[in-house]
C-alpha cells in the first residue's frame, strides 16, 4: 500500500478472521502497537444481565502481561460505550455481545489501535452497525524555549504517537469518529491545552481518520476477494 508512506500514521496492517473459534476477529497493527480482538455474539446471556429491549455488550481488556487492573477497566468502559453506541443493539434483544481485546504489543497510541481493531473485528463478525468507529490519537508536544516566547513555533502535533512521543508530550487526545459522517462518537483528552489546541487536534484527527477509513475499506475488500476465490 502506498497509503502508508504518504501519511504519518506509521505502518498499518490488519488481518481479519485470525481466530477460528470466534464469530469475528482481527489483528490490527498500527506502528509498533499490535492488538488482537475476538468477538462473540449475538449469543446467550445470563438472565441477570439481560436487557429485554436490546443486546448488552461486554468488553474484556487484557494487558500484555499480568492481570487486568483499574487501567484496563477504564479502557474496557471506554471501548464498551463505543460498541454500545455503534452496534444496532435493538435488533438482538436479550442477547450479549462479548468483545475480547488482547494487547500484543504496546508502543503508544494503544487506545486508538484497540478501538480500530474492535471495529474491524465487529465488521468481520458481520454484526449490524450504525457505522464503524475509527479512532485516532494525537499528541501535543510543547518545547519550552526559555529565551524567546515563540509559542507557535514550539508547538507540535504528532499523529499516532509512539510511547516516546507520548512521554514527551504535554497532552494526548484520542478521538473516535463515525465512518459515515465523521462526527465524533467519543473522545479522551488528557493534559492541559487551550480550546484552540483542542480543536486543532480534532481537525488533524479527523483528517487522519479519513485515511484510516480508506485503509479499512481496502483491507475488507482484500479479505472479500480472497473469500470469493
Amino acid at each position: 500500500m502506498d497509503l502508508n508512506s504518504s501519511l504519518p500514521l506509521g505502518n498499518l496492517q490488519c488481518e481479519q478472521k485470525v481466530l477460528k473459534n470466534t464469530d469475528g476477529s482481527a489483528m490490527y497493527t498500527a506502528g509498533e502497537t499490535n492488538v488482537l480482538v475476538g468477538v462473540y455474539g449475538p449469543a446467550d446471556c445470563k438472565e441477570s444481565k439481560q436487557d429485554v429491549k436490546q443486546a448488552v455488550v461486554e468488553v474484556n481488556f487484557r494487558p500484555k502481561i499480568g492481570i487486568p487492573g483499574v487501567a484496563e477497566k477504564y479502557m474496557e468502559k471506554f471501548v464498551c460505550k463505543i460498541c454500545e453506541s455503534v452496534i444496532l443493539r435493538s435488533f438482538h434483544p436479550r442477547t450479549a455481545f462479548s468483545v475480547i481485546v488482547q494487547v500484543m504489543q504496546d508502543q503508544g497510541s494503544l487506545l486508538s489501535c484497540a478501538i480500530n481493531a474492535v471495529s474491524m473485528a465487529l465488521q468481520d463478525a458481520g454484526i449490524s452497525m450504525r457505522c464503524m468507529p475509527v479512532a485516532v490519537t494525537v499528541a501535543l508536544q510543547k518545547k519550552e524555549k526559555e529565551d524567546n516566547e515563540m509559542k507557535d513555533d514550539s508547538k507540535k502535533f504528532v499523529i499516532s504517537p509512539s510511547t516516546k512521543d507520548e512521554e514527551e508530550s504535554v497532552a494526548i487526545a484520542t478521538f473516535v469518529f463515525d465512518s459515515a459522517q465523521y462526527d465524533s462518537i467519543s473522545a479522551y483528552a488528557c493534559g492541559p491545552m487551550t480550546s484552540d489546541e483542542y480543536r486543532e487536534c480534532l481537525r488533524l484527527a479527523k483528517e487522519a481518520s479519513k485515511h484510516i477509513v480508506r485503509f479499512f475499506r481496502d483491507s475488507v475488500s482484500r479479505k472479500v476477494s480472497t473469500d470469493i476465490r
Binding site: I67, P68, G69, V70, K73
Partner: protein
C-alpha cells in the same frame, strides 16, 4: 502478597508518621480528676443525631458523638439473594466499616478482625429489636460507615443503625440506644471514652489495679431490656455490673434525643 486488581497499586509498606514521633503515655485522669479533653469522668459527650441523610436509602441516619462520626443507611426489606435460603423469618444483614481515614492509623479496605467483631455485635444487638418474623423470605440490609473514630464507635454505630431502621419504617420492638464506658481502676468510670481513652491491652501499666477495660451496652430504653453487651479487658464481676449499670443509665438518657430526632423528622413530612 496478593495485589488488589480493582484498586490502584499502592506501596507494599508504608508507615504512619505517628510511629516516628515520641509519645508520652499519660494517665487518663489528671490531678484535678479531669479527663484530657476537660470533661469530668461522669460527663457524657454531646450527641448529634439526624435522620434521612442518605436520600437514596430507604432509611438513613447520621450520628456524631464528640468527634466520632457515623453514617448509616438501611435498604429493604428485599428478596434474599440466594433462593435456597428460604426462611420464615427475615434476615438482618449488617456491614460495619471504618473509613480508611477514620482512625489515627490508616485502615485497609478489606474488613479486618475488629470490623468483623463489631459487625457481629451490631447484628446481634439489632436482631433482638427488629421484628424479623414480620419479614419472611426477605432481608434487611444495614450499612454502617464510621467516618471518624474518636472512641465509642460501636455505641454510636448501634444507635445510628437503630435510628436508620426506624427511619426506614422497619418494625422494631423498641429503638436501641447504646453507650460505652471505660473502666479504669475500681472507682473510675469514664463515660463516652475518646479514642485515647479506649482500651488497648498493650498500653496497660502495672501499677493500676487490674480493673481495666471498656464496656458497651445496647439497651431498648422503653422495655428496659439489654440487647447487647461487649466487654473488653478484665474486671471484677462487681465492677462489671456497675459498669453495665452506668452504661444502661446513659443509654436510657439517649431515649429523649432519639425520640425527638424521629418525631421532628415526621413533622417535616406532614408539613
Amino acid at each position: 502478597m496478593p495485589t488488589d486488581s480493582r484498586r490502584l497499586p499502592v506501596p507494599e509498606v508504608s508507615h504512619s508518621p505517628e510511629l516516628f514521633c515520641s509519645s508520652d503515655p499519660t494517665s487518663l485522669i489528671n490531678d484535678d480528676s479531669l479527663r484530657k479533653d476537660g470533661r469530668n469522668p461522669e460527663e457524657i459527650a454531646g450527641i448529634f443525631m439526624q435522620c434521612g441523610t442518605v436520600s437514596q436509602a430507604k432509611g438513613s441516619s447520621f450520628c456524631e458523638l464528640h468527634k466520632t462520626k457515623v453514617i448509616c443507611s438501611v435498604y429493604g426489606p428485599k428478596d434474599v439473594e440466594q433462593k435456597e435460603d428460604f426462611q420464615m423469618i427475615g434476615k438482618l444483614k449488617c456491614d460495619f466499616k471504618f473509613a480508611p481515614f477514620s482512625c489515627h492509623k490508616r485502615r485497609g479496605h478489606i474488613a479486618d478482625l475488629e470490623e468483623s467483631e463489631l459487625c457481629e455485635v451490631l447484628t446481634q444487638a439489632l436482631s433482638s429489636s427488629v421484628c424479623l418474623h414480620r419479614y419472611p423470605k426477605s432481608q434487611i440490609e444495614v450499612y454502617v460507615i464510621v467516618l471518624e473514630n474518636n472512641g465509642s464507635a460501636l455505641a454510636a454505630a448501634i444507635t445510628a443503625a437503630s435510628l436508620a431502621l426506624a427511619d426506614a419504617c422497619i418494625e422494631q420492638y423498641d429503638i436501641v440506644a447504646a453507650a460505652s464506658v471505660r473502666v479504669f481502676g475500681k472507682e473510675n468510670f469514664l463515660r463516652d471514652p475518646t479514642f485515647h481513652e479506649e482500651y488497648f491491652p498493650h498500653q496497660l501499666s502495672k501499677k493500676n489495679d487490674f480493673n481495666n477495660g471498656v464496656v458497651t451496652v445496647a439497651l431498648m430504653p422503653t422495655l428496659n431490656q439489654v440487647c447487647g453487651v461487649l466487654s473488653e479487658g478484665c474486671m471484677e464481676s462487681s465492677v462489671l455490673q456497675e459498669a453495665i449499670q452506668t452504661c444502661t443509665e446513659e443509654a436510657q438518657n439517649l431515649y429523649a434525643p432519639l425520640r425527638k430526632c424521629l418525631t421532628s423528622n415526621l413533622g417535616d413530612i406532614n408539613v
